[in-house]
């Protein structure tokens, strides 16, 4: 048994060097001055002026999560309730497949669709109507997030719903519950773990994205990811960038912890 435990040693060493220590370095950078290298709190306190950006990033990510859930749940439910397993597999694959193509390109394809001189507006112009402002607003950024991360919502939901014992639904129906009641009292509570993990998997990349907001957003839709990226790639100030990364990370972990509270003790509630 002891030798068995040693099998984990390379992994633990690897994770220490490449996960724990780098986070330590981020913390170190976040609390030092960019020029003198002295300890300082100014990076962290300086973040206060980006509160608006933080709030906006969180807000857009939350909206994306909500939309993903609203359209993802029926989809996952539909797939999970197909009687034939092969149909389920096929649909599952169809949802997965777009994720294999670089998300940069898929986002660019949306730009091509939505631009003022893009495909949709060209078509509208052909019909003799006024082009619509489809791109470079919060809506377009949310659309990009929903598009890119929707499969992350559907897949965990599917795997939870598919495991729901159909006899439970039948039992509820036999006891006189209508569709709405079955959904509210049986299906929904049983899919909470899926909702939680889907929510996390959409929220985390959405709140930290920088590519989607650059491409589908405008000068006014700068998100926290954009600012962090710029601190490392253009306006060289890794200390401020590290401080922002640290705050972002803590925020995300806090959100995930809160979300996990929802699935804690879930089994007891259902019983």
């Amino acid at each position: 048994m002891k030798t068995r435990k040693l099998l984990a040693a390379p992994y633990i060493v690897w994770m220490c060097i490449f996960t724990v220590i780098p986070l330590g370095i981020v913390v170190y950078y976040a609390f030092t001055d960019s020029i003198t290298g002295a300890l300082t709190l100014s990076n962290i306190t300086g973040i206060a002026s980006y509160t608006g950006i933080f709030l906006k990033s969180i807000w857009l990510a939350l909206i994306s999560c909500a939309i993903c859930l609203i359209i993802g749940f029926p989809t996952a439910h539909f797939i999970a309730t197909r009687p034939k397993e092969s149909t389920q597999k096929l649909l599952y694959m169809l949802i997965m497949l777009p994720m294999c193509i670089s998300f940069l390109l898929r986002t660019l394809a949306w730009v091509a669709l939505l631009d003022d001189t893009g495909i949709i507006n060209n078509a509208i112009r052909l019909l003799g109507m006024k082009p619509l402002p489809l791109v470079r607003n919060n809506g377009a950024v949310v659309l990009g997030m929903v598009y890119n991360y929707l499969p992350y919502m559907i897949l965990p939901l599917y795997s939870v719903i598919v495991k729901i014992d159909h006899r439970l639904v039948e039992a509820a129906e036999d006891l006189g519950a209508n569709h709405g009641q079955v959904f509210r009292h049986v299906i929904l509570p049983l899919s909470v773990p899926g909702i939680i993990s889907g929510f996390t998997m959409v929220f985390v990349p959405a709140v930290s994205t920088f590519y989607i907001s650059q491409k589908l957003g405008s000068s006014g839709t700068t998100l926290i990811g954009d600012v962090i990226e710029s601190q490392f790639k253009t306006a060289y100030n890794p200390n401020l960038g590290a401080a922002m990364s640290l705050v972002l990370m803590i925020m995300v972990f806090a959100c995930v912890a809160i979300m996990n509270r929802f699935s804690d003790g879930e089994a007891e509630v259902i019983m």
């Binding site: 068995r4 099998l7 986070l23 370095i25 439910h77 092969s86 193509i101 390109l105 930290s208 990370m249």
Partner: protein
């Protein structure tokens, strides 16, 4: 309710595939503007195969994802076995560390690794530390949790008596390990490997922070392309990739179905035999 679900599913599928269709159509366009159809051509595909640079980038991406997923699968499987035999407090600690790269925003992981490598570069006095190996390390790091999280449940599901049974039937502990244990968790290992391969292949954010000019993967290059007008041959490349992946997935599904059918038949035959024996 059911009709509504079906309607939404159809809308979702259309929504997911519209951009892919745009890309595929653009790859046959004579003009370079993705939004204006000028005529049909296969020119972009010919261009693609003449572009040694682009093919090299694709090869780079494949090398990194294959290597990273192999190493991560090996390390991750070993680690799962180790973690599984740990006491619960230690196990919880290790699993928390495993969760970090999973939950951490990619940009933070990328930034932290970039800072680590820069630090290591100055410390070890290596001028060009960013390159193949840093990219590989980063990819292995973010792949590891996926492997562990798909192998661990299989270990938990496994019947502990199986190993004892194998040993009763005359296996040495080592044989029992390879014939029974590894065999039982194989589906988990394979799905972990596949998942990390796809994650590696499509990863942009982390690669963007840890790659140097010497060794670049396809997504990183595409990012720098998109600042310039994108060359239409990229659409051709991805249309081809999409078709290949589609074919592989369909083939895998078919094989699995055949396999499942065979298993069902075998089980029936087995039951039939035992049934008769019982009579």
């Amino acid at each position: 309710m059911k009709r509504l679900n079906r309607f939404i599913t159809i809308i979702v599928l259309i929504f997911l595939y519209v951009p892919m269709i745009v890309l595929a159509v653009a790859s046959f366009n004579t003009g370079s503007d993705i939004a204006i159809w000028e005529g049909f051509t296969l020119h972009q595909y010919a261009e693609l195969f003449r572009d040694a640079n682009l093919l090299r980038l694709l090869l780079n991406s494949l090398i990194i994802s294959v290597l990273a997923s192999l190493i991560a699968t090996m390390l991750g499987t070993m680690a799962s076995l180790g973690i599984f035999s740990m006491r619960s407090r230690m196990r919880r600690l290790v699993m928390t560390v495993t969760d970090i790269p999973m939950t951490n925003p990619e940009i933070v992981t990328g930034v932290s690794l970039a800072l680590l490598f820069a630090f290591a570069g100055t410390f070890l006095k290596i001028k060009s530390i960013l390159g193949f190996f840093t990219l590989l390390i980063a990819h292995v790091t973010f792949n590891l949790p996926y492997v562990i999280l798909s192998v661990m449940p299989k270990l938990a599901q496994m019947d502990g008596d199986l190993r004892d049974a194998a040993m009763d039937l005359g296996c040495t502990p080592r044989q029992a390990f390879f014939k029974v244990l590894i065999h039982e968790i194989m589906p988990g290992i394979i799905s972990g490997a596949l998942m990390s391969f796809t994650m590696s292949l499509d990863d942009f954010v982390i690669s963007y922070f840890v790659s140097g000019s010497g060794f670049i993967t396809l997504p990183v290059e595409i990012y720098s392309y998109t600042k310039k007008p994108l060359q239409p041959k990229i659409y051709a490349l991805f249309t081809l990739l999409f078709i290949v992946i589609l074919l592989v997935m369909v083939a895998m599904n078919l094989l699995q179905m055949k396999d499942a059918k065979k298993r069902v038949q075998a089980r029936r035959a087995f039951r039939g035999r035992t049934g008769r024996a019982g009579v």
